[in-house]
């Protein structure tokens, strides 16, 4: 440790003000504080502080994302080999998926951190740890077939327009990772939806008979428009609902496995890093709306059992990792219940009533991101009102 510290101390003047590489000051600082917790001491107020900091908090989220990411990599290989009729080992499936996914992750981190560090240097503040999570979330919600330049473009959009224009981490209105996905969805719809994008199969590669890369959400949407009644055969090609829970279905890279995502949820909840209130209320909201539609009945969407909404599409991923972003979510404790409930409710509503766009959770979260300050405002007003009433009494 002493040796490492000495090396860092030797390099430090080069990057400090007046040094040759002072334009990389923020970057150096970020790396230094990653390696060493600084030797600062408290100087005002309390003399001792809790051991927790933002680095550790963000790192916990990254760990919570890993099961879903690992599974997603494997599933990518599995889906490819299933579609092309090849029998390969678990490792080969994983290796195939990893090779598909790593470039996307590298582009996302490279572009995002580059911009973050440039902004930090320009504005003279330290690099914030938030992008460690955002930079991983972006690849995880991409279809595997997405071109890398789109990933780069979307990441740049999310960081600059989604975050920095609002003042950087902590000030943003919208969830940056979803901002990136939304940007691509609206700008490049064909590449981001339909049957082809989830499992990358090059032209000319033969697929097995009857193969379809369509997702459950897509199938149910089509069935509803055509008046086909609900049945389990509408689940994506050759799968059952337990496959949806397991995650062996096509979809965005890491969104498919309910089990892997729930593992992440357990990590977030046990460590207190993610809000269980939001997760629970989102689930309740979806079941509530799904239940009402079940009672009404009518087409395939209406008749699909309400709990299916929880395990198909990106619902679980969004609920566990996207709704719980503390910056874009409601910030008051009571507000969190309302925020989550409406995300769940809106997700189901959008899925069922929007024929053009089958996945609702992304829109629902972004919409509620916009409404979160309003929810907080109402909650704060009720606290203020109690105080004012006290004077009157």
């Amino acid at each position: 440790m002493k040796f490492l510290r000495d090396q860092v101390d030797k390099l430090k003047p080069t990057f400090s003000e007046g040094g040759k590489l002072s334009f990389l000051h923020s970057t150096f600082d970020a790396l230094e504080t990653f390696l060493f917790v600084p030797n600062h001491t408290t100087h005002s107020g309390g003399h001792i502080r809790d051991g927790i900091d933002l680095k550790r908090t963000m790192f916990i989220v990254v760990i919570a994302l890993l099961p879903a990411l690992m599974f997603g990599m494997w599933n990518l290989g599995y889906q490819f080999h299933r579609a092309t009729g090849m029998e390969v080992s678990l490792f080969e499936n994983f290796w195939y998926g990893m090779l598909q996914t790593l470039p996307i992750i590298i582009v996302s981190y490279g572009v995002g951190l580059g911009i973050e560090m440039a902004f930090a240097q320009f504005k003279g503040h330290p690099v914030n740890e938030g992008f460690l999570v955002t930079g991983l979330l972006i690849p995880m919600v991409m279809p595997a077939d997405v071109p890398l330049w789109m990933v780069g473009l979307a990441t740049a959009f999310a960081v600059v327009i989604g975050k920095e224009v609002f003042g950087g981490t902590g000030m943003n209105l919208l969830n940056p990772a979803l901002t990136a996905r939304m940007f691509l969805y609206i700008g490049y719809t064909p590449e981001m939806s339909g049957d082809k994008c989830w499992v990358p199969i090059a032209d000319g590669v033969a697929t097995v008979d009857g193969y379809s890369g369509a997702t459950t959400l897509g199938n149910v949407g089509v069935a509803s428009s055509n008046g086909t009644p609900w049945s389990d055969s509408l689940l994506s090609w050759g799968t059952s609902i337990s496959d949806s829970i397991m995650g062996t279905i096509p979809g965005s890279i890491a969104e498919t496995s309910v089990i892997a995502i729930l593992l992440g949820a357990v990590i977030l909840i046990v460590t207190g890093v993610g809000s269980w209130k939001i997760m629970l209320s989102t689930v309740i909201g979806a079941l509530f709306m799904g239940g009402i539609l079940n009672l009404a009945g009518g087409n395939a969407w209406y008749d699909m059992p309400a709990w299916y909404h929880l395990v198909i599409g990106g619902f679980m991923f969004g609920t566990v990792f996207m709704t719980t972003d503390p910056v874009s979510a409601a910030q008051t404790e009571r507000g969190k219940w309302i925020y989550g409930f409406f995300i769940g409710l809106l997700t189901v509503l959008i899925r069922v009533y929007n024929p053009g766009y089958p996945e609702g959770i992304m829109m629902a979260i972004l919409l509620m991101n916009v409404f979160a300050p309003l929810i907080d405002y109402r909650v704060i007003q009720s606290n203020i009102k109690t105080r004012l009433n006290r004077v009157k009494a």
Binding site: M1, L4, R5, T33, F34, L35, F36, V37, P38, N39, H40, T41, T42, S44, G45, G46, H47, I48, R49, D50, G51, I52, D53, L54, K55, R56, T57, F59, I60, P126, N128, E129, G130, G167, G168, T169, G170, M171, V270, T271, G272, V273, S275, P326, V327, A329, Q331, T332, E333, K336, D376, I380, N383, I384, T386, R387, L388, R390, V391
Partner: protein, 448 residues
């Protein structure tokens, strides 16, 4: 009848070196200092100069805004130095003490029958007045107002705090007399707030006050929390608070006619070799207390507790209102990947450190903040240690935005810095909550 109140949201930070029950005696310190900086917003007007001889109870300086408020010498002796800082602001008035204290005598005979104004006059001239803290804002009490209530927190729940059943043992009669005086200063009630699990026998003789029983962790002992639960402060209302030690000072003064500020304080912390109780006097040089009593050299000496106290030097002076000295190690060292793999235990409320949170009992905490300052990201954290009906993060944000109306709406009149010290402790983004709140309070005080 008083109320029974259970504090649920809070945190007891258990630090190493809590005071043993022994009372140690050390030689009486050679110098004393009264520091105007101990009182928020005080601009002193000097009454003495270097070389003057004073008796215990002689006025050293007054408050420029209200010259009736005297700050008096805690001991007799010679004015050794008037320490000045930037722009000649007075930082301390040092007294070289006589070997035997001689007291200025005040006529307090028959105080039981004196009027509130006569009592106030005696408190003002004797220098006891500054021990009364006025809310909102936590400032010097204004002698021209009559507060709606006076609150005394009968216990201290802060880390390493002194136990009143030891520090106030033998002061029972003085405490009783002190409360008799306080009762005349308010039109409302005098509240004596006690902890159901702590020994309150020193208050047994006190009569005619409202006794409220609290239970639960820190900050149950903070008078601000207690006021919020019992009878919160609304806009335009004024409440006074005192520490029990200072009630005893008042009682002793009216019983004897002399200003005797001798008190027993706790000297504690992981770096103290004999943590325990020590008898000393307000404003004393602490070097006598710490001589041969420190386990290491690189330490922070705090007058007060680790959450709200003031950093002082090893030969610094005990703060005017403080009843404990805490000594903890400095944390001025780098820690390799410390955020990921902490190399030593540290107190926390975060479940991301399950071993420290759930298994470890006491901590040797140092002054490293364990991370750097960041914008607000995490939410719902302050609420876990804030038992008052106040939205802490929103209040702090309104102060950062300098939104006066919102600060008022969110209850800034009900809090002073110490009430939000735990929020600062738990903050993931390492926001200096107390400093921000202090700025907000100052802003509000200027406006009102």
């Amino acid at each position: 009848m008083g109320q029974n109140i259970k504090i649920k949201r809070g945190l007891d930070i258990n630090l190493e070196g809590s005071p043993s029950n022994d009372i140690y005696s050390v030689n009486s310190p050679a110098t004393f200092a009264i520091k105007p900086t101990d009182i928020k917003g005080l601009v002193p007007k000097m009454n003495v100069k270097q070389g003057d001889e004073v008796k215990a109870g002689d006025c050293l300086f007054t408050d420029k805004k209200n010259e009736r408020i005297c700050f008096t010498a805690p001991v007799s002796g010679e004015i050794a130095e008037v320490v000045r800082g930037d722009r000649r602001a007075i930082l301390a008035v040092k007294i070289l003490a006589d070997s035997k204290v001689s007291f200025k005598s005040f006529d307090t005979s028959g105080y039981e029958t004196k009027s509130a104004d006569e009592l106030k006059e005696l408190l003002l001239t004797s220098g006891l007045w500054p021990f009364i803290v006025q809310r909102p804002f936590g400032v010097l009490a204004d002698p021209s107002v009559t507060p709606k209530a006076i609150h005394v927190s009968g216990f201290d729940s802060a880390p390493l705090a002194a136990d009143v059943s030891i520090t106030l043992k033998g002061e029972e009669a003085n405490i009783k007399a002190g409360f008799e005086v306080l009762k005349k200063l308010t039109s409302g009630k005098v509240h004596l707030n006690l902890h159901s699990a702590k020994d309150s026998s020193v208050y047994a003789a006190v009569e005619g006050v409202e006794r409220n029983d609290f239970s639960g962790p820190h900050p149950s002992g903070l008078v601000g929390v207690q006021i919020n639960k019992i009878d919160p402060i609304n806009k335009g209302e004024v409440v006074w608070t005192l520490k029990p030690q200072h009630v005893a000072f008042i009682g002793k003064f009216f019983e004897t006619g002399n200003l005797n500020l001798e008190q027993t304080i706790a000297v504690a912390g992981s770096e103290v070799s004999k943590p325990g109780y020590y008898t000393t006097i307000v404003g004393a040089d602490v070097s006598g207390l710490l001589a041969n009593n420190l386990l290491s050299d690189n330490v922070r000496v705090i007058s007060g507790n680790v959450l709200t106290g003031t950093k002082i030097l090893k030969n610094g002076y005990l703060g005017m209102h403080d009843t404990q000295i805490s000594v903890i190690p400095e944390g001025d060292h780098y820690e390799l990947l410390g955020w990921l793999f902490p190399s030593y235990p540290r107190p926390t409320i975060s479940s991301t450190f399950p071993i420290f949170k759930f298994l470890k009992k006491t901590f040797k905490a140092n002054t490293n903040p364990h991370g750097e300052h960041r914008a607000y990201v995490v939410t719902g954290q302050y609420e876990k240690v804030m038992p008052m009906d106040i939205m802490p993060q929103q209040l702090i944000k309104s102060i950062i935005a300098k939104d006066l109306e919102q600060m008022e709406n969110l209850g800034i009149y009900e809090v002073i810095e110490e009430d939000m010290a735990l929020c600062e402790f738990v903050c993931t983004s390492k926001i200096d909550v107390q400093r921000v709140l202090s700025e907000g309070l100052e802003l509000m005080a200027e406006e009102s």
